[in-house]
């Protein structure tokens, strides 16, 4: 199975640095490029949006409640007459930041635990799988309530109200979602570490770290990228449930997940209320997915582009 070596046909084309090579391959993936652009626009919109669309997020005008999209309110209003566009711009910062950061946390922890468990034999491997099993069986709601009870005030004092809550949320969401990644990575490792090319590397005296980083991990990344992109969506939604428990941002913070949740009972009266945040989450998820796909293809040396 010579094809399993990392020799890439494209290497013959000239002298490229690996990064430029990756970029060249990435840029061939049209959807991925478009998606990266789309994500950039989304991020830009929520960052500079408030300076352009200057409607306040909590201006209540009950008489103007539940209006569909109009010039005054391009995305319509909710039942209290608050402007949905302004709320989405504001909430988008939090949703995107939480989604991406929590995804990173879960992917990093999951990959680390999975890789360690996959490489080590004996006690460490068993111990890490025990930890994974433990986290999988923990009922999340009581755990969250316990965390709020134990840490909320402390964190608030150390990091300040906004920063503290952001860190707590990211850690909590990421910290409760890494287990599938760990199991997937471990399973991949168990299989890949026995493959000929790894054995060859081993025989050539590659250190375990080198074996992992250079040979095993790149081949195990497929499921990790998929899990990561799914986690972004899950984290955006999970954030909204946290604020119900008093753990998240204050209840009047209009994050995308929260907007979608608030809108659900008004689905037949004002579909616009759910449509826009739902679409925003969808666009973010699709963009991140295609970026993931593009990255994978770019990093997958076997694929000829």
């Amino acid at each position: 199975m010579a094809g399993l070596t990392l020799a890439s046909p494209s290497a013959e084309r000239g002298v490229y640095s690996p990064w430029r090579e990756t970029w060249r391959r990435y840029s061939r993936h049209k959807l991925a490029v478009v998606s990266a652009f789309l994500l950039l626009i989304l991020i830009l919109a929520v960052v500079v949006g408030p300076f352009i669309w200057r409607v306040k997020i909590n201006d209540i005008d009950i008489l103007a409640g539940m209006q569909g999209p109009s010039l005054a309110h391009p995305f319509g209003t909710d039942d209290l007459g608050q402007d949905i566009l302004a709320r989405m711009i504001y909430g988008g910062r939090i949703s995107l930041a939480v989604g991406l950061a929590a995804m990173l946390v879960s992917v990093v922890i999951g990959t680390l635990v999975g890789a360690l468990a996959g490489m080590s034999r004996g006690a460490v491997g068993h111990g890490l799988m025990w930890l994974t099993d433990l986290f999988l069986s923990l009922p999340q709601l009581p755990l969250l309530l316990m965390l709020i009870y134990l840490f909320r005030d402390g964190l608030k004092q150390v990091f300040g109200p906004e920063g503290g809550i952001f860190i707590l949320i990211v850690l909590v969401i990421g910290g409760l979602r890494w287990m599938p990644v760990a199991r997937l990575v471990r399973a991949q490792f168990l299989s890949i570490r026995e493959k000929e090319f790894v054995e060859a590397a081993r025989a050539l005296g590659a250190s375990p770290v080198r074996q992992v980083v250079k040979h095993i991990l790149p081949n195990a990344l497929g499921p990790v990228i998929i899990a990561g992109t799914i986690d972004v969506a899950a984290a955006i939604i999970a954030e909204s449930t946290l604020s119900f428990l008093g753990l998240g941002f204050p209840p009047d913070t209009p994050t995308w997940g929260r907007l979608l949740y608030d809108a659900k009972d008004f689905l037949d009266i004002g579909p616009h209320w759910a449509l826009f945040p739902g679409a925003a989450i969808f666009i973010a998820v699709v963009a991140i997915n295609f970026i993931g796909d593009g990255l994978r293809d770019a990093l997958d040396a076997r694929r000829v582009i």
Partner: protein
């Protein structure tokens, strides 16, 4: 192999004990009160609420409560619900059949969609079929079940009036009529949950297949003149199955644990809704029993997955 399984089972005992201890401490430390509903009732002075807490041992030290629980569990006593004032095992057994039926069907549906769609999409990456399947998958996991559930209700129950949206455990009728009614009322919850899980699973299957399908031995197999179907099924799928088996093993305990949101929306009296009401009312014995069984299943399916890895890829050495 059997020696390996035996050893893993032996290791499982202390590890489950450890998990049970952690679970118990988390539940005990989590704030709340099974009698909080009494709080605003002017007819019930707070002393009564406090006296009830004391009577049910909620004010005892946690380690003592854990030891009580453990010794009772070893005697086969699952505990006694504070809120329903009945035995926990009765409560759980009452809800088990519904959970197995609805959540189990949803998992089967998810697999039936995800595996063929994922495999086919991977054989023709970036074809029209692949693009459509991917887009639908993205929609599937961007929209939470609390949202799709209501959407389904609005379309199929309210507007079209085809399906009931309140799940009944007491379906009237006998024979074929009963079977049809049971199927009819399960369509929406099974679809909502099944499609949600199929969405992410499809992505995993597709990705796993893509990882393998480009390998040289597959090309070799094709070069030998084997048909496309044979190549895919015999050579690619088996090797792509490792992540899929991992995912299924991750999902299986949920067949017992239920799906909290879906069960709430469609009023399915499954274990998920028992769990959430028990958590919200701090009915610790029930929560503890459900999560402990769940933990046992997590450990068990992890073991099964490991055994399956060895079968799928004989080079994996199980130690």
């Amino acid at each position: 192999m059997s020696q390996y399984v035996l050893r893993r089972l032996l290791i499982a005992i202390p590890s489950l004990l450890g998990i049970s201890a952690v679970l118990f401490f988390v539940l005990a430390l989590a704030p709340g009160d099974p009698f909080s509903e009494l709080a605003t009732n002017p007819n019930v002075p707070p002393e009564v609420q406090a006296a009830l807490r004391a009577r049910f041992g909620l004010d005892d030290p946690i380690y003592l409560r854990y030891l009580h629980w453990l010794s009772a569990m070893l005697h086969g006593d699952w505990g006694f619900s504070f809120v329903s004032r009945m035995n926990v095992d009765t409560l759980i057994l009452q809800r088990l059949p519904t959970t197995l039926y609805v959540i189990g069907s949803a998992q089967i549906l998810a697999l039936l969609i995800a595996i063929p769609v994922g495999v086919y999409a991977a054989t023709k990456p970036y074809s029209l079929f692949d693009q459509v399947a991917n887009t639908l998958a993205f929609v599937g996991f961007s929209l939470p079940t609390f949202f799709t559930g209501i959407l389904f209700i609005l379309i199929f129950s309210v507007t079209l009036d085809w399906l009931p949206f309140v799940y009944s455990t007491d379906v009237k009728g006998t024979g074929v009529h009963w079977v049809l009614e049971m199927i009819r009322q399960a369509i929406m919850p099974v679809a909502v949950l099944g499609l949600f899980q199929a969405a992410s699973m499809t992505r995993f299957v597709r990705s796993a297949m893509l990882d393998v399908i480009r390998l040289d031995y597959v090309t070799t197999a094709r070069a030998k003149g084997l048909g496309q179907a044979t190549v895919i099924v015999k050579h690619v799928m088996r090797n792509a199955m490792i992540p899929v088996v991992t995912l299924i093993a991750l999902q299986m305990p949920a067949v017992f644990g239920g799906a909290i949101v879906t069960e709430q929306i469609f009023r399915i009296p499954g274990i998920g809704s028992l769990l959430i009401t028990s958590i919200l009312s701090n009915d610790t014995p029930v929560v503890m029993a459900v999560t402990f069984v769940f933990a046992c299943l997590v450990v068990l399916f992890n073991l099964i997955a490991d055994v399956l890895y060895g079968w799928l890829d004989p080079r994996i050495s199980l130690r």
